[in-house]
């Protein structure tokens, strides 16, 4: 490619980015409809479209309400749709948080659980199951377990953050090391409580493995705004993330208030991660692989990387979840197992293919 073509390519970049995003949104909608078809009860596409259409204002007056069975309508609207939407929201949230973490840490090996959100959520959930089960309280319409898991995740990340604080700065390396240490510490506590949990152990292990079996519309209504607002706010700082990749000093010399940007993005990514973890358990690899893969395809510019990664993450997770639902017949696999199984070989392939070393 000649240099002038490169220049032309750059000047057309805003249009190309818009096109990519529109295509991906269309693909997401398509995959949602396709995945609604997946499941034990056979429901045809025309029925699916009728059921969905009935829910859309203005469109519903043209649809004959009695053309589909009540059972099928319930399966689609109360079981499959919330589950798929939850998958999309969780996938988008994990991938967006992954982009933020990788940008903040200038390292493509960072993921959304780096600062202990997963360990904190698991531990919170375990405590809630063991000691809060009898309360069975519902606060804000969300399950108590979910709220405690959310709080566990948020508190852990804040603990890591404040542990790493030196003066009014938070050095990246210290943050990373504190994250690792706190993760290990909480996991060891987790083991202690798991060993004492007796009958509840199965439930705890299943939750930690990640999945969408008990998704309700309420949990979607609660988590979706957090993921959406978090990602949109993070988008304001994507140009700063580009500059941060050249190191703190250079970013500062180019006009970025690095400490503030980092604080805001850590807060946003941690809230998003904690929110999605609270409804899905620990689903690994999405926050690591999706940003990484997307970056390989569309380049490292965070202005396009953040939104595309979020949509690709959503598509990836609903596909994995659909696979989890049907892979072993009637009993389903935890989706975390599927993402890890799909992700690990791919990740090893990427590492072997691109033998460049990464540095902080």
């Amino acid at each position: 490619m000649s240099v002038d073509e490169v220049q032309k390519k750059y000047s057309k970049r805003p249009y190309r980015w818009k096109l990519i995003l529109l295509t991906l949104v269309a693909a997401l909608v398509l995959f949602i409809i396709l995945c609604l078809n997946v499941g034990f009860a056979p429901i045809s596409f025309s029925d699916i479209i009728t059921i969905i259409g009935k829910q859309v204002p203005f469109l519903n007056q043209y649809i004959n309400p009695s053309s589909v069975s009540v059972v099928n309508e319930a399966i689609i609207l109360q079981i499959r749709l919330p589950r798929i939407l939850a998958g999309a929201i969780v996938g988008a949230g994990l991938a967006a948080a992954g982009v933020m973490y990788q940008g903040i840490f200038r390292n493509p090996m960072a993921d959304s659980y780096l600062l202990g959100a997963s360990a904190g959520a698991s531990f919170g959930y375990t405590l809630a199951v063991l000691y809060g089960g009898t309360l069975a309280a519902n606060i804000l319409g969300m399950g108590l377990f979910q709220i405690v898991a959310f709080l566990g995740a948020v508190l852990t990340v804040f603990l890591v953050y404040f542990m790493s604080r030196v003066g009014n700065k938070v050095p990246i390396t210290t943050l990373l090391l504190s994250g690792i240490v706190v993760n290990i510490f909480i996991l060891s506590l987790q083991t202690v409580f798991e060993l004492r949990s007796g009958q509840a152990l199965m439930g705890i292990v299943a939750w930690i493995a990640g999945g969408f079996t008990n998704i309700t519309w309420t949990s979607i209504y609660t988590v979706f705004p957090v993921v959406l607002i978090g990602t949109v706010l993070a988008y304001f700082f994507t140009k700063d993330l580009n500059l941060l990749s050249m190191g703190d000093d250079t970013a500062q010399h180019l006009g970025v208030n690095t400490e503030r940007v980092r604080q805001i993005l850590l807060l946003l990514s941690s809230l998003v991660t904690a929110a999605v973890v609270s409804i899905s358990g620990i689903i690994g690899f999405v926050g690591l692989i999706i940003p990484h893969m997307t970056r390989l395809i569309i380049g490292p510019d965070h202005r396009i990387l953040l939104p595309t990664s979020a949509i690709v993450g959503a598509i990836f997770l609903i596909l994995c979840d659909s696979l989890a639902r049907v892979a072993t017949g009637a009993s389903e696999l935890p989706v975390g197992v599927i993402t890890a199984m799909a992700g690990t070989p791919f990740f090893i392939y990427l590492l072997r293919k691109r033998k460049t070393s990464y540095s902080l």
């Binding site: 240099v3 000093d249 490292p300």
Partner: protein, 449 residues
Amino acid sequence: MVILSVDGVECRYGSIKILENVSLTFKEGDFVGILGPNGSGKSTLLKSISRTLKPTKGTVLLDKADIYAMKSVDLAKHMAIVPQESNIGFSFTALDIVLMGRNPHMKRFQMESEKDMVIVRKAMKQTNTWHLADRPINELSGGEKQRVVIARALAQEPRVLLLDEPLTHLDLINQLEIMDLVRDLSEKEHLIVLAVLHDLNIVGRYCTSAILLKDSCIYAAGPLDQVLTSANIKSVFQVDAIVKKSPVTNSPYVIPLSPQKTSLERKCAIHMICGAGTGTLIMKALVDEGYVVTAGVLNTLDTDYETAELLRIPTVTEAPFSPITKETKFANLGMINQAAIVVVTSVPFGFGNLSNLEAALQALKQGTRTYVIDEIPIEVRDFTNGRAAAMFAELQKNGAIFIKHPSELPTLVNATHKSIELCKLDQTEIPGHLKDAVKVVHSKKQEAK
């Protein structure tokens, strides 16, 4: 006119002072080299000017505005920094990197405009990196990468450019290209350029002025010929150096000498009969071994004469291209008498310097140990119709030690010098009637007096 002034800056890390009471003023077109030994505060000075490290006292003013009171984005419109090394996290292309230089001029949601692209293109053409536009930055060579980073700095359209050891890890051609480029920019774009550099000669060649730091303070600052002096270099770097004007670039250039090994015992004196560069390596080797070396007769401006001057070796000299006169021969004999050993190198002999060989023969006959380096057969370098060859034969007959290769000499001398009476030569002891004829290059000691 843009003026950058450093106003009474003091920096501390905890209780340790890194910079003390630094005040400087720079104006457009200044290309200033910041020099000093490791730990003297060079980088700290640059950091305080670039707003990376806030001074504990004093401040930095750009056009009378305190840079520490400015927003970083506003400062970035006026000041660009080229760091020592750029470690870029993701594989952005060179064009991406240079476009980032436009950040301070863009609003938060603004995409790069055509105007930005024009500026970036100009910066990349200036730095000869436009052809690298779509290459990933981390796949470029060190020199290419550094030029891209300079292009990014130029894309900021700064008035002040700071460079922190920009030549680290670069090879010679890249060092020169980058310095040529920066000098051009300071001249044509009227930038203020401040560069922390280690190479005194790069500063001598490219900068308009220099700052010499020592122990957290400014030791000297100003035009090159006032800063780059032997005395300053000795005092700041503890290195003896000769400062000359380059005949090619008319800029000062510095020839540092290896630190003298003062711990060695003072060994005996060796007199060199050499010339035309045949004695250079031997003189250096013997001085390093701790011998007192003298030389003569040498024509001034001869290569060996210049070496002797650099090494502060006392020499008996004759005017350029002139035959040795009786007086200088006599002076030379005086010097030989002080020496415990005489060394004759593989110098060509003509009628002009034949008397040096006569002097050697005379010394040998008086019992002075004489080494003859016979690397090139005498027949090849005898331009006296056989007289030099005849004297060589006589040297051999009288017991001179013939060596095939000059590198063997120091070992041989080392093995035997202890059996030789220690020399008593001291410049002050040269007999009075020889003083006029003997040109003594003053030793450091005498200079100090």
